[in-house]
Symmetry: C2
């Protein structure tokens, strides 16, 4: 049974130990920490984090790998769009009206609480107390009857699905109060999660910090289509910061107010079943699915099938969506995700965003539970359609039809010469009303016009207050006309894989954290060499001045090869220096010692096994290049080059159990 | 004479042509452009830009090179800090009070105008009209007398130095009005340039979008010092978006409201003349300086000397600042800056930011004039000191002294038992007043105390309204004491090279733009291969299906080597496809033709010369690798591999003048 509380080597996972390591090695830190105790510093300034040197390097390496894996591999059109976004754009997208959470105010404490979190925590507490109580003796009053307990459990299972009115009813029904002080809370109100500001000197123009990078991609659709010379399908991509003014930020990097996203918008023809040209390359990859139906039955059993099978059986709607699920899987595993702690969960109908028509989340298991790290949504034609309507800009693809299409349809015409003088100011509204009539309505009206020589057409409110107009056959005619269409015009659908990079980074760190079996204080981050912040540690055996030029020249050789390295010439023992770099996730270590000065050989240590080999500088550098390029594994290197087991290692095989002459220096 | 209006090959530079190319090839675009004409879209939403695919790739490549050149080369501690910044932080840094421009309102038009821009444009217009007029005949009234013309010229030369009151006086004195409508403008008021918002549900906590990344680095100083195990000097670095709510954004990418910065904060011991360990590596590099004194004498003559000489003669204050000037120079030239359009301008005393004590700008010559692209400031200990004072957190370096230091100094002591009862609520203020006395004051007071047995000490306002207190020798004593200091404590100084990446990118694009001599419509961006968005274009000669697998396999081979490439299999002629990629700055092109199918050879074309060579796939790929790594030049490649001059090129030598059989297909 996989468990978030189990590390790579099957030991218990301690979040306290893990977080202490991240803090000690400055992977990340709360932003503005030295201001926490300063006067006038408001407690609301939370949910903001800075990445320190190893965290920042890991972040950059993940992004670089993301670019290689997605953008370069698929020739996506990466763009860099603006974070500050004018209100009309986000009004159209729906965010101004719908991007909100429900919150309650406690008037006594002056606190704001996220309504669903409040209900969740109070009901969970009551259930826990009930379980701890016995029905007759200890804390008898806390014991819930079976029906109530079941009710609570059902509510908790559906907590994500409640809106403001339902949450208000639950709060009233179960007399839910602020756990801090037990005060009553006011009815939930919607709190928009976007940061608002104004742009320009007049302060008349409201803007928001974007909640996602997607909108900037949709707005550039037409230019991007031109850029790729009209070829469909194509994908755009964007890496950038997004923002959410969370009501109650928590869980460290998992719920923050400023975060890095990497989003892909793949534009595809809705006809043709959203086939994908390269689907066959991934069809055999098996993925663990948590299906909609399984969830509705209250279970979490995974269905593990190949993505080919999943698309064939319609578990996953189409090839394009399926292709991206498989590619996401390959990416996550490549950067260090433990594949036993990864699942694809299908969204239930009522939890899908307002724009989505099918959605799967790649979820990663952490000590906080299963965390949504990549959302893969089919956003259909929603976004392009609404922006097109709002701006009057056609956001469509025009394609030459292989064969011209003959279309016969009803067409209404107005006698312009008569319309203007007769209807005056109402003329435009009447023309618009006629133009908006559908084929069915036109068919019926044509019959009516033929029989009665007059029809009634619904309109916007006219000058006389009426909302319809009578049109005689003198002024209006409706005929069947045939036209030939040589081009086809359609609004593409959008498949969107959307990556929360901070969440992925945090989950990977949990997944690769463990400690050496003989000493829980000797902790290791087994980051893949691909994303490790530093690839090679360089350590001179001691501060003998003879080692310095060798170390300097090695560092410069590695740098010239673009290999991030770090010299640790501090006075502590080699064992300690290796241990520090195990915590930083540095996969390789080179020691320069007295043998180096006499015969030019150096040792190479591998982080996870702590095994070492010894060879010439050139051979070791060649091996490092191969290990980074992935053309050789450590196993192969350690078979090919002579093992080093003498004085100069931090342990033999089982680290720290051999004759470790440096560990305690 | 270097001129911004001259391209690389000495032709006239046309900004209209240049901007049309950037737009056509989607290097960047105004953000939200399709909303410009939408209802409710406010005209203030300007100064925001999106980078399209080639612009975004160029941006990423510049940043990657910046990381290699600075961060990796010098083992800097790169961090990624938060953009949203609480008010107290920016209050301390001085931005809340001082980061403002002066603006005037035209109450009739409802327009806001940046005051210095207003004065500048009106006086410039008057000078131009005067020059065009003759003193007797045509437009006689526009002619300025010599004294006034000289006055205007002097004002324009100093326009950056005026504050609000001076600008108000100029506006009054010369009756300067809004050129749009000729209305009078109101007095200038200070407009803070930061975007403001609030964080958290209570809306009680004001935050700003950061105006620079520097503050986030200063706030993490202590943790970074720990991270590098206390070793001084060290540098931090940060790449990220910053924001300025400009009053009137203009000049395209040069004055925008959201922009990418890359900043380095190099922390150095103020003692020891700010020596730099690697200064000797750059000492011989010659740089073009525009000195302070030259500017004060109204001239722009450059002094070109080696940075070694410049530091020796104190033209540049110290080695560390000098080292960075030279490194900045190397970086800019490497990514495509024309070294004849680059100068280092020293700041005048009155234009320096409030925190800086010496500052040099790397300025690049563009069609908009000389543009500040990199600021290199010595910020002294300003920032660490003010944040330390505001938070009570010591932001200092502690170093063991090589030898203990004996310090003898005056020390005042208060008889605590007596102070409390006697002064009650004032006691703390009096203790603070005594503790803040300097050595000189203490010396004088010691004498007074010895002679009069009572002293008067200035204080904050006390309960009785007085701002001093009398202390008798009974309650206060002042003695000479000797203590031994084993550690030295100091606040580091900061040298800050700060890069405006968007401005650099724009200037590079201007510098590398030219057109082929025989046809001004055939434009080229000669971007260095290092930063070019795409390295290799792949073109099949025609849409013969036999070419497809070859092109596909070539693309995948290049991709595996991490070489960004692009296939253009569109139906247009090869000449047109090459021309399109010349505009995208793609340095290399491979053609697959019928000879490829028979003998496996392909051609390689170089963008600037349009020359081609022909060889086997392996040989060509090897050459491409060398060209990208910089280990071989095109000149060497074209000597080594057989030239291709037959059917299949887009021109012979002088592009388009040979037997170009593809250009017009």
């Amino acid at each position: 049974m996989v468990n978030a509380t189990t590390t790579l080597d099957g030991q218990p996972f301690s979040r306290a130990q893990f977080e202490a390591l991240l803090k000690r090695r400055l992977f990340y830190t709360e932003a503005f920490e030295i201001y926490r105790t300063a006067p006038n510093f408001h407690g609301d300034n939370r949910g903001l984090f800075d990445y320190g040197p190893p965290g920042c390097a890991l972040l950059n390496n993940i992004i670089n790998e993301w670019r290689k894996h997605f953008v370069i591999e698929e020739n996506m059109l990466e763009i860099d769009t603006t974070g500050i976004t004018p209100e009309p754009v986000l009004k159209t997208s729906g965010h101004v009206d719908k991007f909100a959470d429900w919150m309650c105010r406690d008037p006594v404490k002056g606190e704001y609480l996220r309504a669903d979190h409040l209900v969740e925590s109070v009901l969970e507490t009551r259930l826990e107390k009930s379980r701890a109580a016995t029905s007759d003796g200890k804390n008898k009053a806390d014991k819930l009857d079976d029906a109530t307990a079941k009710e609570f459990e059902e509510i908790l299972a559906k907590i994500d699905n409640y809106g403001g009115p339902e949450l208000r009813d639950l709060i009233k029904k179960y007399d839910i109060r602020n756990p801090n002080g037990n005060g009553e809370v006011q009815d939930p109100i919607a709190f928009n999660l976007m940061f608002q500001s104004t742009i320009g000197p007049s302060a008349a123009s409201p803007v928001y910090l974007r909640p996602e990078t997607a909108q900037g991609q949709f707005l550039n659709f037409r230019k991007l289509l031109d850029f790729c010379q009209g070829t469909m399908p194509f994908a755009s991509a964007c890496v950038g910061k997004s923002y959410r003014n969370e009501i109650s930020p928590r869980s460290g990097l998992l719920r923050v107010r400023e975060f890095l996203m990497a989003e892909i918008e793949h534009f595809v023809d809705p006809e043709g079943h959203k086939h994908h040209e390269r689907f066959s390359e991934v069809a055999d990859i098996e993925l663990p699915f948590l299906e909609k139906d399984t969830q509705l039955s209250g279970k979490t059993t995974l269905t593990t099938v190949s993505i080919g099978k999943a698309v064939e059986t319609k578990l996953v709607d189409n090839e394009t969506l399926g292709y991206f699920l498989a590619r996401v899987y390959l990416f996550l595993v490549k950067i260090g995700v433990d594949k036993t702690k990864l699942r694809f969960r299908q969204h239930l109908a009522n939890e899908m965003a307002h724009y989505a028509c099918d959605c799967w989340d790649a979820e990663l298991l952490t000590s906080y539970g299963w965390i949504e790290c990549v959302g893969c949504a089919d956003r259909s034609a929603y976004d392009l359609s609404v922006h097109s309507n709002a701006t009057g800009t056609p956001l469509v693809v025009k394609e030459a039809r292989p064969e011209p299409l003959e279309i016969t349809e009803w067409k209404a015409s107005l006698e312009k010469k008569l319309v203007g003088p007769r209807f005056k100011k109402d003329a435009k509204k009447i023309e618009a009303a006629v133009a908006s009539l559908g084929q069915d309505a036109l068919g019926a009206l044509a019959d009516e016009l033929a029989s009665k020589a007059v029809i009634t057409v619904p309109t916007a409110e006219l000058a006389d207050g009426k909302t319809s107009v009578e049109l005689s056959s003198e002024i209006c005619s409706i005929d069947k006309v045939t036209r030939v269409e040589n081009t086809r015009e359609y609004t593409p659908n959008v498949i969107e894989p959307s990556f929360g990079i901070g969440r992925i980074l945090y989950s990977v760190l949990e997944h690769v954290f463990w400690h050496r079996r003989q000493d829980s204080a000797r902790q290791v981050l087994s980051l893949p060499i691909l994303v490790a912040p530093t690839k090679v540690l360089l350590v001179p055996l001691s501060n003998n001045p003879g080692f310095r030029p060798v170390v300097k020249s090695l560092a410069s050789r590695l740098r010239a090869l673009g290999i991030a390295n770090n010299v640790d010439a501090s006075g502590v023992s080699i064992g300690r220096r290796y241990a520090r770099n195990d915590e930083l996730g540095t996969p390789l270590g080179i020691t320069v010692d007295f043998d180096t000065l006499s015969n030019g050989t150096i040792t190479l240590r591998e982080r996870d096994s702590t095994l070492q080999v010894r060879a010439s500088e050139d051979e070791i550098i060649e091996a490092i290049k191969n290990l980074i390029a992935g053309t050789e594994s450590w196993e192969q290197v350690s078979k090919r080059l002579p093992a080093f087991t003498g004085q100069g290692q931090d342990g033999q095989g089982q680290d720290g159990q051999g004759q470790d002459d440096r560990w305690d220096n």
